[in-house]
C-alpha cells in the first residue's frame, strides 16, 4: 500500500505538475484583463439577455440581427437556438451574435467625455 501511494503521488505530481506549469505559462502570456468584451469569448451556453448585459448591446438588437423572435427564446442558450433555427449549420447563431456585437460596436463607438 505504501509503495502504491508513493507511485500514485509521483504519477499525479508529474501529470498535474506539467499541466499546471503549461496553464500558468499560458496565463502569463495572455495576461488578465478583467473587463475584456471580445466577441470571441462568446460561448454556446450563453443566452441573449446575458450577452446583452455583458457586452452592453440591447437585447432587441440581437434578435433583429439574427432574425428570430424574442418571445420564448430569452431563456435559451445559443446552442439551443442553433439547434432550433439553424439546422445543419454549425455555429450559425454563435457567429451571427458575434457579428452583431462587432456591428454594434462599429455603429456605437465608445463615448469619450467632452472637455469642460
Amino acid at each position: 500500500m505504501t509503495i502504491g501511494l508513493i507511485a500514485l503521488g509521483l504519477i499525479l505530481v508529474g501529470f498535474f505538475g506539467v499541466r499546471a506549469v503549461v496553464s500558468f505559462v499560458r496565463l502569463q502570456q495572455t495576461g488578465l484583463q478583467s473587463g475584456v468584451t471580445d466577441p470571441e469569448a462568446i460561448r454556446g451556453w450563453m443566452t441573449i439577455p446575458y450577452i446583452a448585459t455583458a457586452y452592453g448591446v440591447p437585447e432587441e438588437y440581437f434578435f433583429e440581427h439574427i432574425g428570430i423572435p424574442a418571445e420564448g427564446n430569452r431563456d435559451k442558450s445559443l446552442g439551443q437556438l442553433n439547434r432550433e433555427y439553424a439546422f445543419g449549420q454549425p455555429a450559425a447563431i454563435l457567429n451571427a451574435v458575434k457579428e452583431a456585437i462587432r456591428k454594434y460596436q462599429r455603429e456605437q463607438p465608445p463615448v469619450t467625455e467632452a472637455p469642460p
Binding site: 508513493i6 498535474f16 495572455t30
Partner: protein
C-alpha cells in the same frame, strides 16, 4: 458549436435562474456528481461583477446547497459504515483508522473543502463511516466551504470575463496538491515502517 454538456447546462442555468441553480449545482457536487463546482464558483464571481447575479442570495444559497450535499454524503457513509462496522469490527486496522480520523479528521475535513477538493467526497464518506460526530463534521465543513466559496467567487470577481482562463490552472493546481499529499502520506508511512521494524543483524558481523 458543441452539443450541450452538463457543464454548459448548469452555466446557462446560472445566468438564467441565478442563485437557486448555483445551490442545486453545489448540492449535487456535494453528493458526488462529477460537476466542476470550482469552475461554477469562478463563473459566479464573474457574473456577480457583471451584475447578472446578486451576491448575498448567491453566496447564501450556494453555501446552503453545498452543506446539504456534504451532509447527505456523510449520511451515506454512515449507513455504509454500519455495514463495515459489522463486517470489520474485530479488525485492528479498522479501529485504528477510526481512532485516527476521530483525532485528526477536523483538519482533513477543512482542507479538503477548498485545497484538496478531489478528496472531499471520500472524506465525507469516511467521516460518516467512522462515526465522526455529525456536529463536529458540520462545523469543519461549514468553515471549509465558506473559505472555498469566498476564495473562488472572489477570484472570479477579480478576473471577471477571463474566468475560463484561470479555471484550467486552478484545476491542474488542485490535482498537483492531491499528488503531493499522496506522495507525502506514502513517504510518511514508509519512514514510520522503517523506524518500527527491528534492526536486522549485519551480514558481515563484527571482526
Amino acid at each position: 458549436m458543441s452539443d450541450l454538456s452538463l457543464t454548459d447546462f448548469f452555466l446557462t442555468g446560472l445566468i438564467t435562474y441565478g442563485p437557486p441553480m448555483l445551490g442545486l449545482a453545489l448540492l449535487l457536487a456535494g453528493l458526488g456528481l462529477p460537476l466542476p463546482a470550482t469552475l461554477f464558483l469562478l463563473a459566479t464571481g464573474a457574473f456577480i461583477r457583471q451584475g447578472v447575479m446578486d451576491w448575498t442570495t448567491t453566496l447564501g444559497l450556494g453555501l446552503l446547497g453545498v452543506i446539504v450535499g456534504d451532509s447527505a454524503s456523510y449520511m451515506l457513509g454512515r449507513f455504509a459504515g454500519d455495514w463495515a462496522q459489522r463486517r470489520f469490527n474485530r479488525s485492528t486496522a479498522w479501529r485504528s483508522a477510526q481512532d485516527t480520523f476521530a483525532r485528526r479528521g477536523g483538519t482533513a475535513i477543512y482542507l479538503t473543502r477548498f485545497l484538496l477538493t478531489p478528496l472531499a467526497i471520500p472524506v465525507n464518506l469516511i467521516a460518516g463511516g467512522s462515526r465522526y460526530a455529525f456536529w463536529r463534521f458540520l462545523g469543519y465543513d461549514a468553515a471549509g466551504e465558506v473559505t472555498w466559496i469566498a476564495l473562488y467567487v472572489g477570484l472570479g470577481y477579480v478576473v471577471g470575463s477571463q474566468w475560463e482562463l484561470i479555471s484550467q490552472f486552478v484545476g491542474d493546481f488542485s490535482g498537483l496538491l492531491v499528488g503531493l499529499a499522496a506522495l507525502g502520506a506514502g513517504v510518511y508511512l514508509w519512514v514510520q515502517r522503517k523506524s518500527c521494524s527491528p534492526p536486522t543483524p549485519s551480514a558481515a558481523g563484527p571482526g
